[in-house]
Amino acid sequence: MAHPVHNPPGDDVLTAYLDGELDAEARRDVDASLAADAETRARLEALKASGRPFKDAFQLVTDAAPRERLGAMIAAIVPPQAERGAPRRVWMSAAAVVLFASGVAIGTSNVLGPSSVRAPTATVVADNSANKPAAAPVTLARPVETDALQRQAGRAADQAPPALGELAAAPKVNQVPAQPAAAPATTAVPPPAQALADASPARNDAPATPAARAGATSPAAPPPPSGLLSVAPAAPMAGGLAAAPPVAPAPATTAPAGAVAVLTTPTWRQVVSDYIVLTTAQTLAVMPDNPRLGDAVAAYGDKLQLDLTGGRLTVPMASLKDVRLYDYRGRPLVEASFLSDDKMSVVSLCIILTGQPDAPFGFEQRNGQNIIFWTAGGHGFMLAGRATRETLEAIARDLSTRFS
């Protein structure tokens, strides 16, 4: 005899039934209802139709995660293991210091408590050092691109959310291992034109505080070239692969409690530098030649709206080993990696569609690499490597004639 059904299960119970979340007694009740009531059976079958391959679908979202930036972020705020536990690590001061720029203000004084939202400001920063007052506020946000590129891109942080459905179409960005902390670039006296080109009200490449200034090395002219693509010995390391431990003094001694410094805001070049520095000559040397490299160059050129074919992507005494297309905040970015003929050096050319006005060559150093950058035809160019500045400038001049 069927169990009498007095109270047919609702959708919530049927859903829990489908999800295996009911206890034994409740499950028996539902079974009884199903046995006795056709309407309940029909409802259950209808709810079953809502089943979807959720996990598989969301794997695409995971794949689209900006792992390189997230890795760089976590590397900036988590010290190397050997340093954990040391008192007042300077890394934390630098890492916890972020520039408010994205319109998201987050208080930290209450983990699960009420909001401590702060008004947008580009000022307040704080450290997480052990002696920080527990209630010290932090204005926090992702270090946001504030150079002209970002402005041109028109992607205010809150204005460009992708639909999840669109996310499924996100590029399979080459996953890059976690990066070390972004470090201030050592910019060697940029020419005035470059300064104009890069200037923006919120630009923050130049260290803005004593602590941050201490983290930057003084401009130093690289040694004279010793051959094409020769490695510049000991380029000043504002922050190389071991960038996390900075050289700044403990900021709390020089700044009011809770406000110590301003983290340099990475430009696209910083982001790019952080991953291309991981490519070594050996990385490229063991890479088999890609017979479809030419096709990729042509296709990626289309994305950039720039003709890369016809030998335009060439560097003297080096061969093109790899070319990759990335998405930098909605902008196509192509990286071409060249390996010197002696298999000893790497030069990377990165091109991004910016729509910016032309700008002459500038020079900077990031992650121990020398970088020549310029803008032409609405594209930003960045030539990076451990070759000497003079060598890179010569290559850049050659390249620029092909993309003018």
Binding site: P8, P9, G10, D11, D12, V13, L14, T15, L22, D23, A46, L47, K48, A49, S50, R52, P53, K55, A57, F58, L60, V61, T62, A65, P66, R67, R69, L70, I77, V78, R84, G85, A96, G103, V104, I106, G107, T108, V111, L112, P114, V117, N128, L140, A141, R142, V144, A157, D158, P161, A163, L164, E166, L167, A168, P171, K303, D327, G330, R331
Partner: protein
Amino acid sequence: MAQNRRNVVAEGLPEELARMWRYGLVLSGNRDTAEDLVQATCLRALERAHQFEPGTRLDRWVFSILHSIWLNEVRARKVRLGQGLVDADAVLVFDGLKYTETNISARQVLREVQELPEAQRETVFLVYVEGMTYREAADLLEVPIGTVMSRLAAARAKLAGLNSEAEGPPLQSNRSHGTSGP
């Protein structure tokens, strides 16, 4: 002990970043905001590492922090400022993902989930994507388990195209049934 807990958190965070970002994206519908949420969550987690219980799941713990930051700080602020939370206008530059049937299906699923009201979307994500039990989801969301059930039922009804009750609680609700949760 406190330092040990901090190390546990610090060492575990890198493994969770992509999923944290995904969760942030589900909540905010905005890649940049999702990144902000991850960063804020990491800093908060490190700051409060002494509250983490070793042996428990770090991902659940950081998810609860992320949820809290979103709900109490970021989302609240966006609403207050009248900023839209979802703007489907943005399209990521795409290259390399083949439009196989699998991906087309996945895109459709993501669209369907995105169209759910936020509370339902988040609950669907936590239970059906992250694999949380009802109890775990209820604890993270700080709502009664019955609310989790209602949200999922409404989401299922909508996904199944059943009726308009997807926007509210199911018409038929019987809370006398127990769940198997602890």
